[in-house]
């Protein structure tokens, strides 16, 4: 019924130079999609699409030099630089002791690292493991588009020093639950003695925002979070020593 009208409209648009308006309308369309993105990587891809559409519009409007600059600098260089910046800044560096992660570097592929951790945990129940906490952390970080990067240190002294030197954002220590309670002055009751073999993870975080996010969203029961303010208390040693005593 309305097909002839559409055909007449299309013909009229085609006869005149009105396709320029249609092309120009694409620019605010892609720009509005771009500003509604939450994930920075998705926004980067959208920025590429916006650059391509912008180059097209500039060319149609007669500015060939501007279009060339947009395509070369605006699209290619800007996206590459922003991708490098986003990738290096949206990361949570987590310091761990090398002995706590027995085989994670020995795993052949990166996907197998978590599996290797779990297998090592099953094989040796006495050895504490933080594989469940690690997967929880990964989930929380993924929700905020963060990347979790594990940095291993040979001993607890190096781990403390790395936290003070701001090499890492958080330090993770693993210990036995009964030992934690007895050191804290609690009387170990029968229920806690039953939990003897469970490992206990303590997470020392020096970024306030990171601490708030993890405090609110981390669901793992066997983890205690501590916030360390390096500006007011530069000596982080006592805090780390109290929450993460060496294994007997």
């Amino acid at each position: 019924m309305c097909w002839p009208i559409v055909l007449v409209l299309v013909t009229e648009v085609a006869v005149t130079d009105s396709y320029v308006y249609v092309l120009t309308a694409l620019l605010p369309l892609t720009a509005s999609i771009l500003v509604t993105q939450a994930n920075p990587y998705h926004a980067l891809v959208l920025r590429g699409i916006l650059g391509a559409v912008a180059a097209l519009v500039y060319t149609v409007l007669g500015a060939a030099d501007v279009a060339l600059t947009e395509a070369l600098v605006g699209t290619m260089l800007a996206i590459t630089l922003y991708a490098v910046a986003v990738r290096s800044s949206l990361v949570m560096r987590l310091g761990v002791l090398k002995e706590a992660i027995p085989d994670w570097r020995a795993a052949s592929k990166s996907d197998d690292a978590l599996v290797a951790l779990q297998q090592a945990d099953q094989a040796n129940a006495e050895q504490p493991s933080f594989a469940p906490l690690l997967s929880d952390l990964r989930t929380v970080c993924g929700k905020h588009h963060l990347r979790l990067e594990l940095v291993s240190y040979p001993d607890s002294q190096a781990l403390q020093q790395a936290l003070v030197d701001k090499e890492i954002h958080a330090a993770l220590r693993v210990e036995h639950k009964d030992r934690y309670f007895s050191e804290s002055g609690f009387e170990p009751n029968s229920e806690r003695i039953n939990l003897h073999s469970e490992s206990f993870c303590s997470l020392c975080i020096r970024i306030r925002r990171l601490y708030d996010i993890l405090q609110a969203e981390l669901t793992s029961p066997a983890a205690s979070l501590t916030y360390v303010d390096l500006a007011t208390s530069p000596e982080v040693g006592p805090v780390l020593a109290s929450v993460g005593e060496q294994q007997p």
Binding site: A14, H42, G48, I49, T59, A64, A83, V84, R87
Partner: protein, 88 residues
């Protein structure tokens, strides 16, 4: 006239990957849509250059057609590296 209608059809085809970008949340689907838009924009520029008989626009179209894929490849490589590292 015929070329104008072809141009309108190409603009409509350009809307398809833009719709895909809105709908699909997978990053690789979005990269595919980006590749599609970049190629289609370059071809559109070439068609317009033929339509207007303007060599300057044609040269810009050729350069955008060849360079757009390089930026796409760099971005894809960085995203792939990020996915590899995220699963360690």
């Amino acid at each position: 006239m015929i070329l104008n209608l072809a141009l309108i059809a190409m603009i409509l085809a350009l809307l398809i990957p833009i719709y895909t970008v809105c709908k699909d949340q997978d990053i690789w689907q979005r990269m595919l849509a980006f590749a599609s838009v970049a190629s289609k924009a370059a071809i559109l520029i070439l068609v317009i250059s033929v339509l207007r008989d303007d060599w300057m626009i044609g040269v810009v179209g050729v350069i955008i057609l060849s360079v757009g894929n390089a930026g796409l490849m760099l971005l894809a490589h960085i995203i792939k590296r990020m996915n590899d590292l995220a699963s360690t």
